[in-house]
Amino acid sequence: MVESRHGVELRGVSRIYSRGGETVKVFDDVDLKIDAGAFCALMGPSGSGKSTLLNLVGGLDRPDTGDLTVGGVALGGLSEAALASWRAESIGFIFQGFNLIPVLTAIENIELPLLLTNLSKAERREHAMHALELVGMADRAKHRPGQLSGGQEQRVAIARAVATDPGVILADEPTGDLDLESARQVLDLLGRLHSELGKTILMVTHDPRAAQRAERIIHLDKGRIEEPEQGSKGLSGEG
């Protein structure tokens, strides 16, 4: 397996939301450490804070208190613009609803994050094509999302997530909208990203079978992280 330096560390992280004049504590003083190159599944009931944790790690949201470090970068010290640049370089997102841009073809969707790099047009096309080949979708390069099945869309989304070769992949219920066969293909792909490319993967899922693919399962309930399963690879969680 390829070594990776993209670990995740939360120290005393709290996140509070206001909903209808009421404050809701999603996290309260949470500590968590995920080793670089780990494949972690985040499980828990709805509203337990799984997606919030993913958003915090991906720099889409900011904690109210505490320190958050991803790949050695303390996110709290970054401006919005710096955070956006960091996301472009370091994070690949995979969403439950795929979130491909509907007016762009598969390959154009994959080229989007590459626009933020210094690659030439030809190099961008080459990288995007390579990513499509990786997910077995090269023959659908010119198809728009509306012309693809759910499983195919998610494979394109995975290709988009890895196109810039980020160290961390954040997947929010990537198999939630897929049939069994498509879900299996997507999980196989995530497994390959972890085992062959050494990506740090944090995957939110409700599906125990999907979670079994991970080497570590973290349970969240009411903003608290339960003791992870013993014996899992990369185990070093606290809180």
């Binding site: 956006a84 491909l100 989007l112």
Partner: protein, 389 residues
């Protein structure tokens, strides 16, 4: 930073809506160009009026004629270089709808009074030589296909012929004017021809002279010369009012009604309508692309990129719509001049009008695109991705 193809494809995401909005912009900018051209054509005669010409009319009304005997008296005023009779004929060709300006003038003086007139075919000598001769502006000549040597029948309304037939004018020259103070659609004929016809009873109508056009010398003061002319006839028999040509032309325009005001009001209405239509389209587009904005931000595109993505769509929409409307107006300019040229001489969609239309397009684009652009900039990724479209 956001690719142009994404901006363009988002714009045509809903093809029918894109076509309808663009179509309304094309029609609106076409109308704005045409309406502006109408106002400009009315103003041009005033703006380009000569400062060395005075128009002497009855102090009572433009429709009251002046005695012929006034000509010699006005000519004697210090600073007057030339004077010419001008009587509005008010005729039409074949149908009353084919109306254009005709004036009875002194043919031997018109070149001095209006040096901007250039004879393109025929000659001024031929015009002076024959009592029934006339010269016609190029626009009217082209509109009716008239050439030198042809006989043009004009029905008189103010001066109808006693036997009910048309007046016949022989085309001695086709002219082009280098200045908008004389338009290219007028027919000038011999005032003497009109006068003799009235005296012989061959036609009926008010005797006398409509107005005198006076050319003053370069060193003469317009106000003084005008004042002295007015003073000459202070005790009658017919008091006169001398005005600089620009003032007279403005008065003539105002007789049509407050056209600039009405045209301006219609133009403002059209502008407000396209503002609202474009704003509506852009707000809908902004809402539909909320999730895309969230995705772009998640991928690392900055707030500025999403701001410009929305604003660019508005500029593109207005650019295509305004461009189409302007092109249509330019293309239809010649045909419209054929229809409107006699009422609005010098009608043209010129560079100034195009520039105004483009400026308006920028204003509309900015107005319509700013709200969705600001929203796209300020949207938080988490909220944008959660939004139900």
């Amino acid at each position: 930073m956001v690719p142009l193809k994404l901006i363009w494809r988002n714009l045509i995401r809903h093809k029918l809506r894109a076509v309808l909005t663009t179509g309304s912009l094309v029609v609106a900018f076409f109308l704005l160009c045409v309406l502006r051209a109408l106002v400009v054509s009315l103003d041009t005669g005033v703006k380009e009026a000569s400062s060395s010409r005075l128009v002497v009319q009855s102090a009572v009304s433009l429709f009251v004629d002046l005695p012929v005997s006034y000509q010699n008296k006005i000519e004697s005023v210090d600073g007057v270089e030339e004077i010419m009779k001008m009587s509005w004929f008010g005729g039409y060709f074949q149908e009353p709808s084919n109306m254009f300006a005709q004036f009875g003038v002194d043919p031997d003086r018109i070149s001095t009074i209006y040096p901007e007139i250039e004879i393109l075919s025929g000659s001024m000598e031929a015009f002076m030589a024959s009592r029934s001769a006339c010269i016609i502006g190029i626009e009217t000549a082209e509109k009716y296909g008239w050439g030198v040597g042809e006989r043009v029948p004009i029905m008189g309304t103010i001066y109808p012929r006693s036997d009910g037939t048309a007046w016949n004018f022989d085309v001695a020259g086709i002219y082009d004017s280098h200045n908008a103070s004389v338009d290219d659609s007028t027919l000038f004929f011999h005032w003497e021809y009109l006068n003799q016809s009235l005296e012989s009873g061959a036609s009926t109508g008010p005797p006398g002279v409509g107005v005198y056009t006076v050319l003053i010398s370069d060193d003469a003061d317009q106000l003084r010369v005008g004042g002295e002319i007015d003073a000459l006839f202070e005790n009658g028999p017919q008091r006169v009012q001398s005005s600089p040509e620009a003032e007279f032309n403005a008065q003539f325009v105002s007789m049509v009604g407050n056209v600039p005001f009405f045209v301006g009001a219609i133009g403002t209405g059209v502008l407000v309508a396209i503002l609202l239509a474009t704003l509506n389209t852009m707000l809908m587009a902004g809402r539909e692309q909320t999730r895309d904005v969230g995705v772009l931000k998640a991928l690392g595109f900055g707030s500025g990129a999403t701001f410009w993505m929305m604003l660019s769509q508005s500029f593109l929409l207005c650019g295509v719509g305004a461009g189409g409307g302007i092109m249509l107006a330019i293309g239809a300019s010649d045909s419209l001049r054929g229809f409107l040229g006699t009422t609005f001489p010098g009608f043209a969609v010129n560079a100034e009008i195009i520039q105004s239309a483009l400026t308006l397009a920028l204003v509309v684009a900015l107005f319509a695109g700013l709200a969705p652009a600001i929203r796209a900039r300020s949207l938080r990724v988490v909220e944008a991705l959660r939004e139900e479209i």
